[in-house]
């Protein structure tokens, strides 16, 4: 983690540690982002407010504005941290470009899943943070290695990002509910669809079970394979 600081000695009983508790705690941009990320992981994106982050730093919300421009910038910095956690193939192997691209996408999904609904902050923006650059470079390199045209590569990097972010948001919504509630919800949805009048909604009726069954992994891979195979099919064609 980037929150690395001097190791905290074991608490000596009854004695407040003068080094850690007395030193004038200075704010910094990194400290703000650290805390914002911690709040995100603990309680989700809605809990990441200026006031909450300030509270955690034992100060007022106005104090944060010396280190981040505004809330949007703060959240985008958190997003950049998260993007930086995505493991990139090293080195790029032209012979395995599709496999490496797929692995990258699967890994990216796992990273988003570790950070609640941060994907929501990535929706509709082009990431330009420091950490986004190696990611975009790598995706472009993999597409290039596969012989994909520049035009298709430009479109593909967009749509891959769209897919990763959109599935990230979708899955974080599901993850927000406790597992019990989640299963219960899909059972209710199945019952709702199954109870519709078969003359008006025959297909929903017949598919109620299969539309509410199946794990997220299958759904993610299905969409991902559609995209990646489609991109690959443009080569030579």
């Amino acid at each position: 983690m980037s929150t690395a600081s001097a190791p905290v000695p074991p608490r000596r009983r009854g004695r407040p540690n003068p080094v850690s508790s007395r030193a004038p705690r200075r704010l910094s941009r990194d400290a703000v982002i650290d805390v914002a990320l911690a709040v995100l992981d603990a309680e989700g994106l809605d809990a990441v407010t200026m006031r909450r982050v300030a509270d955690e730093l034992e100060t007022g919300p106005a104090s944060l504005y010396a280190h981040v421009g505004d809330k949007v910038e703060m959240v985008e910095a958190v997003l950049d941290r998260v993007i930086g956690e995505i493991p990139l193939p090293h080195p790029v192997d032209p012979a395995r470009w599709m496999a490496q691209l797929k692995e990258l996408c699967v890994a990216s999904r796992a990273v988003f899943a570790r950070h609640r609904d941060i994907a929501r902050a990535a929706l509709g923006i082009v990431p330009t943070g420091e950490q986004s650059l190696p990611l975009i470079e790598t995706i472009l390199a993999l597409l290039h290695a596969g012989g994909v045209s520049d035009r298709v590569a430009a479109l593909s990097v967009d749509i891959i990002g769209l897919y990763l972010v959109a599935t990230g948001v979708e899955e974080s919504v599901e993850a927000a509910a406790p597992h019990e509630t989640h299963i219960e919800y899909y059972m209710q949805l199945r019952d709702f669809w199954a109870a519709l009048p078969p003359d008006r909604f025959p297909r929903i009726n017949a598919m109620a079970v299969s539309m509410t069954t199946g794990d997220d992994d299958e759904r993610f891979e299905f969409g991902l394979d559609l995209l990646l195979r489609g991109i690959a099919s443009t080569v030579d064609a």
Copy 2:
């Protein structure tokens, strides 16, 4: 429109119309949703607050709770109205299932585009409103007509929805900025990418122009064709 009411007579000068201005204006669920939709169209989803909608109805926010459960339910009702605007193929023609499915998706994109960032409200939820049922039924019928398996149809209806909603959100973010600012933004993005050190980011560098060029129609169709052709390719294979 579902806001149909008695025709309003031309204003007689200097005389308030006693019928419309004097009758005790009663609230109703429909009236609340009408206003919420109007606020959405005028100023976007962030402006759709309980207080703003209540204000428009010349009452206080607490009064709305007699007609809608809470804000989420109100916004979902607005979403359902919008979904109801999507024109459905009539009748479904099995021979043209792919063309009709594509037309449906294109029409759906246009409907979302007419209603600001309402797509944001559809992200991560399974629409269950009244108007969503004919839509889902039709998509399933088209997939069935194409000979797509039940498993693939269930996955496809999901991913098509994900794509429509995600592109809707993305395009609404762009549309929110005035056209000038929008073009300016892509120029800045191009310059930012083009100015990166070519030794570390050769591909971003080379692709800066092509990644910031091209219209939204092309991007939407590219992704849509990837998905639809991929779905079609599962038949017989």
